[in-house]
Symmetry: C2
Subunit: 346 residues, 2 copies
DNA sequence: CTGAAAGCGCTTACAG
DNA sequence: CTGAAAGCGCTTACAG
């Protein structure tokens, strides 16, 4: 049986309150010689404070929760989630908190899941933004516990932290237009994902603002995976009239496009230019390099967590919440020099 | 003020025990009509069970902890950690637990950190293996709370889950030897990391078993990052006699070797063969492909977590704890065809 | 200055 | 069958 403050108090013939104040260094003063004895006995008994008991009273766990977007196995494999969590963890370290990953979104009912989010283990929550989370965010909001949302498409009442998707898509289109492209395709992300939705509508809007046509044949479904990028390129191949450039809503899908293009013998960037979105670290190691839109994902995660800590402490939030993107030109884009339609389909 | 079971009991004029048994569906039977009333009032009051209070009594939080190996910012960016966490999260979902990431290893004293690990928020702990964790594992072990260790170099009393590093290094060496290489270099990982230490000694041993010489000039320090692979290749360049092949203790460093080799105009694999270790997913997307040793990192994480759940439940552990590796041949290895020493150093 | 006591929100032996 | 009560390990008003 682990030792408690009662054991320490008994051993020293003093009250538990004195022990408590001694161990916590306040708020009530305790004479140094008493304090010393308390610490000595604590060490002797291998006393460890029980934070559960403390939390029950203080209503603080010094832990924040992270809610994964989708109830999918292997959700953790995406570079985006990894970067966000990395940023959140960094902020937690700075702020002396720990991070609880809720793992049961896919395994229990929504009611039970919300109960878990609100069961006292976390002082506040970081949501990633996906449609499946919206009703959950709503319930959490009703409850009044502090939360923040990472990504586009958060409810208006929430504190959200996101990249400037509009700017990013403009940068991608303008880069391609500057190179002389007029026929530009788009691989979209999950229809349930806030950023994906945002980037698609930014694509449509910016294209028409620039006087460029958007063919519905040139917009492909995707789900942020390499595989969905590959199948986008597969259907590109069967088009009678092909775009000379493709923007993918994230790097993974851009990699899929590149990979499939390579397999099909389509020269990149001579015959087809490809732009990604994210500039995630492992894309940076790709050869030949991928032209992409950089967004500071880890910093967004950090800012979100710091914002959450401010909400928890009922301080005003002074964190930046809207992050500019940046075009990173590498080897996957160039002026269109070869006619894409001349390509032989096997 | 959130509602408690007392509020429900008061409203229905029944005892809190009945409410508790009703909400938990037992162990004491509660008549269905009472149960229904309890659930109705619970919903009406927006009652949410407080797991902190429950945990204080049951001494179970249905949460396990994950202890990161090193007190480094951006620790989460490594693909290895990501894969382990992914496997652990998957197991958590299966077992209806959540995962607490301890974030303060670098921010607080060791004593305070151990106190956090033992403060009741986690029912058991998953450690990754690094030297800095050994004294911490020792203290946790003394305390008697369930824990498992992922990776090589765990204390003998612990349940550890790891890849067969010896086999992996043998596979790498034998593959290169079969191609005709006799001069093989090695980029080692952090000197404080269990797997890194293990792979290096496996390299030395297997080389000598195969009658191949190990030059100390051909073993480079590394720290599992791309950059350290690059600097290994930089010092390779200045060697009077160069190996024809390099094994890196993980994929990141192998990527660094490849990248630097490309920058220096060294033809891969004609002039230099490179073998990695891990076969992490984003390596799989590399072009040209990296020959590497596959280890099932995510499965190891899953098995470790499942093992931990069995320890927590005091059941016998039946999880596999030693995982075979597998050679994956891609484009970075071939028979040595060009003399490496002929290469011009700029 | 310090101790005795109430209480955080639950679970669960103990009575009736 | 169900209620009253003890208690988990702490914090913190309340007395003295």
């Amino acid at each position: 049986m682990p030792a408690t403050i009662r054991d320490i108090a008994k051993k020293l013939n003093i009250s538990v309150s004195t022990v408590s104040y001694a161990l916590n260094n306040g708020p009530r003063p305790v004479p140094d010689h008493v304090k010393k004895k308390v610490f000595d006995v604590a060490k002797e008994l291998d006393y460890r404070p029980n934070r559960i008991a403390r939390s029950l009273i203080t209503r603080r766990s010094r832990t924040i929760g992270f809610v994964l977007e989708k109830p999918e196995h292997n959700i953790f494999l995406g570079p985006y989630v990894q970067l966000i969590v990395n940023g959140v963890i960094n902020a937690c370290e700075d702020h002396r908190h720990d991070l609880l990953l809720f793992a049961q979104h896919g395994a229990v009912s929504q009611e039970e899941f919300v109960n878990q989010l609100l069961d006292g283990r976390a002082d506040g929550l970081v949501f990633t933004c996906g449609e499946s989370l919206l009703p959950i965010i709503e319930e959490v909001h009703q409850r009044g516990i502090p939360f923040v949302v990472v990504g586009a498409g958060a409810p208006p009442y929430s504190h959200s932290f996101q990249a400037d998707n509009d700017l990013g898509i403009e940068q991608a289109i303008d880069h391609l237009a500057d190179l002389g492209h007029t026929k530009i395709g788009f691989v979209r992300g999950n229809a349930t994902h806030g950023d994906a939705i945002h980037r698609l509508s930014a694509f449509r809007r910016t294209m028409s603002e620039r006087g460029l046509a958007v063919h519905s044949d040139w917009v492909w479904e995707g789900n942020f995976t390499v595989e969905s990028g590959e199948s986008a390129l597969a259907s590109y191949l069967s088009l009678p009239e092909k775009p000379t450039a493709i923007i993918a809503a994230n790097d993974e899908m851009a990699i899929g496009v590149l990979r499939k293009a390579r397999a099909e013998g389509i020269e990149i960037p001579q015959r087809l230019s490809v732009v990604g979105f994210d500039d995630s670290p492992h894309t940076q190691g790709l050869y030949p390099g991928l032209t992409t839109i950089h967004q500071p994902v880890s910093e967004i995660g950090s800012a979100a967590a710091h914002g959450l800590f401010q909400l928890i402490d009922e301080r005003p939030t002074d964190q930046p919440s809207f992050f500019p993107t940046r075009l990173v030109v590498r080897a996957s884009t160039a002026a269109p020099t070869k006619e894409p339609n001349n390509h032989e389909i096997k």
